[in-house]
Amino acid sequence: MLTLLKLELEKLFRAKSFYLSFLVLVGFVALMLWGFYTYAARKTGGEAVEQFKYTYESKQYFNGLTFALYSVLFSFTLLLPIFVSMSAGSQVAGESRAGTLRMICTRPISRASLVLAKFLVTALHAALLLTFFIGLNLMVGLIFVGWGNLELYPGPLNLVDVPGKIMRDDALMRFAYAVLSGTWALLVIAALALLCSVIFDSPVQATVMTIAAYLTLYIVGRVEFFEHLRPYFFTTDMDFWRDVFKPDIPWQSLWHYACVCGAYTAGLLLTTVIIFERKDIVT
């Protein structure tokens, strides 16, 4: 198992797509920084001040932590799932397409441990992506925007019902929590992509199917017609990761949804193992 894991890690670090995912995240942070800067300038002076007398959006509100929070929340929904799907979707289907899967499976290794090793490597990729992204945002925020407390208001980001504040040091700890909760939530996507990777022989097909399923549920979940179906979508449960940014973390709810996501991940992995064991590998 350890040898398998080492081999899979080597493959991950040799893949160009691994580095590409980090590069795209750097681009996203640059875009966010530009948007945040111009928005903050617009909203803390000139027209906005003339139009409205009172505002919570002061220069103190637009600080590095607020920047990091917006950036992480915006990207988590759409950007990170794509990279995780790509990474997991290519794990088995990529080997199949390259013609190496059959060779691997002729060796005396258990298919279940092969699936598990590939999943663990994908989980590591997801954790690295999130750690890098959050770290980069905080660093860019510190250098270009400056530190401060994390102020939260009802409405935007939908984190609180009443205005709240998280002190700087506590807020930094919350970002560390977000690495854990975010990675755990992303594992559902990873497990789904791995299942697709076993079902389909093309990594593109596996990735597209995963993203299609994710986006369909995500979009349908936001349309009021399907309001009553929303609680049954894994995309709804995945949202629990954001709770670590609430001034008072709702631990009970957080553990509940973390367990639901864990059940999805374990269930999908078990299905993947069962299907892969019975799969007739012809390439």
Partner: protein, 279 residues
């Protein structure tokens, strides 16, 4: 083969553990209505209700045929003062006052650009009604006392723009400025339909200017007032909480807080919000 079996068993165990964990940590469904039965000293009971119709109707203002039902709810709940929105005018108010058997006095706001009026009903026979100009709109305030030994109460009946969040923000700013000037002499309560779209639960909206305007408006009110109906849930169809009663931040006693979900008749899209506080 043995390893395969172990992996599957571990995954199955993990799956079962997660299910059990999810059940263990599941929160009991929150009761829809927060209905405290605590006795409140010097109790002031306020009710706010937009008695207009949903947007799809030809005339979205209050309908005369619904007034007996409105009066019935008011008489049943027996509030000290009522803030109403979307009345068609003085004639309609007089019909309602008649149905209340002279138990209340009332007035409607001046006509602004809109075709509907805010109104206030008060039990106190000595109540005075004050028109409040808020930009291009008018709200209405009523000043009254519960008893001789209780502080003066000022209740504003308000209705913010339904379609434009920036206008709601300007309206709120002007309204709070007006109310802040009176907090020294009276216990100020602001009741009405603010149309804020702030639903935080379960929805992950990305950032929009409208959302930000409503957020700014609501947060601005909370700097000086307390949202008394916060725990009572939605007040309008489509799971919206857009009707509010804001009161002094230092109120010590909060009694019954309830959205009366059996009260709407006809094609009304709001339910009344009832709040009981101790003065």
């Amino acid at each position: 083969m043995l390893l395969d079996m172990w992996v599957k068993l571990i995954l199955l165990l993990l799956f079962c553990l997660m299910i059990l964990g999810a059940i263990h940590f599941a929160q009991p469904a929150e009761s829809e209505k927060l209905n405290s039965s605590a006795k409140v000293l010097n109790s002031l009971r306020l009710l706010t209700w937009n008695i207009g119709y949903a947007e799809l109707e030809d005339d979205t203002r209050a309908h005369n045929e619904d007034l007996p039902a409105v009066a019935k709810v008011i008489l049943r709940e027996d509030p000290d003062a009522v803030a109403l929105q979307e009345l068609t005018g003085t004639a309609q108010l007089n019909i309602l006052l008649g149905l209340l058997h002279g138990k209340y006095r009332g007035a409607v706001a001046q006509q602004g650009k809109a075709d509907r009026f805010e109104g206030v009903l008060v039990k106190d026979a000595g109540a005075t009604f004050i028109p409040v100009a808020v930009g291009a709109r008018y709200a209405l305030a009523a000043s009254f006392r519960l008893r001789q030994n209780t502080p003066n109460v000022l209740l504003l009946s308000v209705h913010a723009d339904a379609f434009n969040a920036a206008r709601r923000r300007s309206y709120t700013e002007a309204l709070i400025d007006w109310a802040q000037g009176r907090v020294q002499s009276s216990e100020v309560f602001i009741a009405g339909d603010f149309n804020f779209e702030l639903k935080a639960a379960n929805v992950t909206n990305l950032y929009t200017d409208n959302l930000k305007h409503d957020s700014e408006s609501y947060s601005h009110i909370l700097r000086n007032f307390r949202d008394l109906g916060r725990g009572a849930g939605d007040t309008a169809i489509n799971d919206r909480r857009i009707d509010y009663i804001f009161g002094p931040p230092k109120l010590e006693e909060l009694g019954r807080v309830e959205v009366l979900r059996d009260a709407a008749v006809g094609r009304m899209d709001h339910w009344p919000l009832l709040v009981e506080v101790g003065l």
